[in-house]
Amino acid sequence: MMTIFSRIIIALFVVCILVACDKIESAQTRNDFTDVMLDLQTNIQAKGYKVSRVQQVDVGMKKSGYTIAEYRVVFFARPDEVKTILEKYPEFASFLPLSITIYKDGDITRLAGMPFVLPRSGASTQDLKTMIETWEKDTADIIHQTAETSD
């Protein structure tokens, strides 16, 4: 009987640790980096977002004397949601635009999202909370769709 209780407590402890660290959505593919980058931007647009910029981190690094493999950050958002945030929730402007990181890691191209736990934890209204949860879901969908369609 005690053993069952012990197992429950151990399971609870492990769950607490896992819940405490909010994961960053990520996926990987063996397809060519350039193709994955194109798929990523197509999938972002398919969800109704606009890509505003691609930050070429590896290029900036190289200019400063540091060589790294391809490493890009794709910035995106929905124009109407940018308008809503700036007008109704200006304190959340720090979380815009959204971003997905795409980088080469050996033969693999990896995709990673952003930690939505931060804006989610500060959302003051249900509308804002819903918007952030949609961003989180869409980002996860885009990342996994891109990794799957590219494979």
Partner: protein, 155 residues
């Protein structure tokens, strides 16, 4: 004997779990998600002050733009982003944790909110705490570094 051992183990795990949950609850309430500071200067003066403070701390200015740039045309120019980077720190951080792209480049948002000019940024310490990211220190070395820059800009 076996029952005594199990009871002690159970009590220890229960205590550990309780302490851990308590620690998380307390920390999540204490740590602000955003670092925010009001500026006594105008929006454009504050943007210039931030740029100067960033450069004074050996960061390289990447660019400055309205938050709405690329999304909205027209009058949405009350919120600006200043992007900057210390490539040496960014390189070192990327060696530890390649998933930190969402923190690159480092950035401040300067905005007018209800007649006040506010400098804000995502708190690197909150990122580290909430995500377990190994390289939460990528921007401005740490939260204190960010606050130093913000305070210098409003002096």
């Amino acid at each position: 004997m076996k029952h005594t051992y199990s009871a002690v183990t159970l009590a220890s795990l229960f205590a550990l779990t309780s302490v851990f949950i308590g620690w998380q609850v307390v920390n999540s309430k204490q740590l602000p998600t955003l670092l925010r500071l009001e500026s006594p200067y105008t929006l454009s003066e504050t943007i210039n002050n931030i740029k100067n403070a960033v450069k004074a701390r050996n960061f390289r200015m990447i660019r400055e733009q309205p938050v709405a740039q690329g999304f909205l045309s027209g009058d949405n120019k009350q919120q600006h982003i200043v992007y900057f980077c210390n490539f040496t720190e960014a390189y070192q951080s990327l060696q530890q944790d390649k998933q930190i792209g969402y923190m690159l480049p480092c950035r401040f948002t300067i905005s007018e909110e209800g007649g006040k000019v506010i400098i804000s940024t995502i708190n690197p310490a909150a990122i580290t705490r909430l995500t377990g990211a190994k390289a939460g220190a990528v921007c401005a070395a740490n939260s204190a570094g960010y606050l130093d820059i913000m305070e210098e800009a409003v002096l």
